[in-house]
């Protein structure tokens, strides 16, 4: 049997007033787009950051394709598990310089190919990355992630700083990459976006793995159903 993409086994991280993650058990499938949804401050981003090992649980185990990530080389693991953050961060220099931070050996042909995969014009390659629009910058960040040859993409509310048109382009791109066999884990509290994107849905509430299942959430418990029905009211 194929192991899940990520498996959480009693994952806990303490917080000031309540745990940021409280004894999380669950699995993320190794295909398509999994959306982590939940109210703001529920622990979705914390869980995602644990997957890239930007944070480490105080107790519990996280497995990536069956391997405990605490036993994996952290740098190699991070290159296998690409991460796109809420606010696009362009490093100093050109777009090509940015791609070369991820992989210093990248030549122009490979760089152009990465830009095209991220729905960016090849003409931007030598542009100062600081002059890109928000949407372009976020897609450049995606191209930079793809430069490490990741086996999965973690997207932490990547459209929260973008306008509607740029958000739509990034969502289309995510669906496209998911369809090409690159699994994605996408965090959002936007329920409409969740419905547009999810092949599989995970709901996090108060640091707990409240439920997971198909995006129609037909058999979800009342607590989850109440959260998912919010924008339909």
């Amino acid at each position: 049997m194929t192991p899940p993409l990520f498996e959480f086994d009693g994952v806990t991280i303490a917080g000031r007033e309540r745990p940021r993650l409280a004894d999380v058990y669950g699995r993320i499938p190794d295909a398509g787009v999994t959306v982590l949804a939940g109210p703001s401050g529920a622990g979705k981003s914390t869980l995602l950051r644990c997957c890239n090992r930007l944070e480490a649980p105080e107790s519990g185990t996280i497995r990536f394709r069956g391997a405990d990530i605490a036993t994996l080389d952290p740098r190699q693991h991070r290159r296998r598990v690409g991460m796109v953050f809420q606010v696009p961060v362009a490093f100093a220099g050109s777009v090509l310089d940015n791609l070369r931070v991820a992989d210093p050996t990248i030549d122009t042909d490979r760089a152009v190919e990465l830009l095209q995969r991220a729905d960016l014009d090849a003409g931007l390659l030598h542009r100062d990355a600081g002059t890109l629009s928000g949407g372009e910058a976020q897609r450049m960040v995606l191209a930079r992630c793809l430069a490490t040859g990741p086996e999965v993409l973690l997207m932490d509310e990547p459209t929260s700083a973008l306008d509607g048109h740029s958000s739509q382009r990034l969502e289309n791109l995510a669906r496209q990459l998911g369809g090409q066999g690159l699994p994605l884990v996408w965090v959002t509290h936007d329920l409409r976006q969740m419905r547009r994107l999810a092949d599989h849905l995970v709901v996090i509430i108060d640091g707990r793995w409240a439920w997971d299942g198909p995006p129609d959430a037909a058999d979800s418990p009342p607590e989850v159903a109440a959260f998912l029905d919010q924008d339909l009211a």
Binding site: N52, A56, P74, R78, F91, V101, R144, T148
Partner: protein, 260 residues
């Protein structure tokens, strides 16, 4: 008392300038009045004690070990000062103590090894004080700037770490900038020597009756040693402290922003 030194009345008169500094802080709402007052009172008390103690230490009959103990105390004080100025960086005290001790050792080895000064009580404490004092200032700038960068540029540092870059490499662009900032004032001081200001050691020697060219040679040698000390302390402190803000698996620790 001679006309070569400031009389007590002159010292009291100089307090007018302290009042001016406090006045500026109050006018511009800098909230530095208390810190200025404390710094002035401390400088008065410390230098009075030092003045009395130096009389004993510089006597040719006093064993040199007392001067070395004094130097050790300067090193500890400098280390503690750096650590206190950037309390958000965990484990900074041991880093800054090690840096100041190493740099003091290297500086004094060069000064006395090359015979720039004779190894005597009257030279050891003042020379160590000047070199370590300047190095400490640069260390403070380096450590506080690092704490600010880690708090304010967290997103950029984590974006680099998330790409699989080793921690030191993720911090490298910032470290370079911090080192330039911390070393800048000493480079400027060295460049402006004799044009903008006449440095303390030289002024003191001239006031004490030493021939100006002899005083200049002494001052230049000291400035170059101080410059190297500043460069070394800044580098060791910032690189050492940068190891303290990351875990062995390159996770960036939470460094709170300063509130003042």
């Amino acid at each position: 008392m001679t006309n070569q030194v400031v009389a007590w009345s002159g010292l009291v008169a100089s307090m007018v300038f302290v009042g001016l500094a406090i006045g500026i802080s109050y006018w511009q709402q800098l909230r530095l009045e208390r810190r200025i007052a404390v710094a002035v009172v401390r400088s008065l008390a410390q230098l009075m004690v030092v003045g009395v103690a130096l009389v004993a230490v510089v006597k040719p009959s006093t064993p040199l070990v007392w001067s070395w103990l004094w130097v050790a105390a300067i090193v500890v004080f400098a280390g503690v000062t750096v650590a206190r100025r950037a309390p958000a960086i965990p484990g900074l005290l041991k880093v800054s103590l090690a840096c100041n001790a190493t740099v003091a050792g290297l500086n004094l080895a060069v000064i006395y090894g090359f015979g720039i000064f004779p190894l005597e009580g009257r030279t050891l404490v003042p020379v160590a004080g000047m070199t370590i004092g300047n190095a400490m200032n640069a260390g403070v700038v380096g450590a506080t700037r690092l704490a600010e960068v880690v708090a304010e540029r967290r997103a950029e540092i984590e974006a680099r770490v998330a790409l699989g870059l080793p921690g030191p490499e993720a911090l490298r662009p910032f470290i370079r900038q911090i080192l330039r900032t911390a070393m800048g004032p000493q480079i400027e001081s060295t460049a402006a020597l004799g044009i903008v200001f006449l440095p303390g050691a030289m002024t003191g020697l001239v006031l004490a009756g030493v021939a100006p060219l002899d005083a200049v040679r002494t001052q230049l040698a000291l400035m170059y040693v101080i410059l190297a000390g500043v460069a070394m302390t800044t580098m060791f402190t910032v690189l050492g402290a940068s190891r303290q803000v990351m875990t062995p698996d390159d996770r960036l620790l939470v460094v709170p922003r300063r509130r003042d």
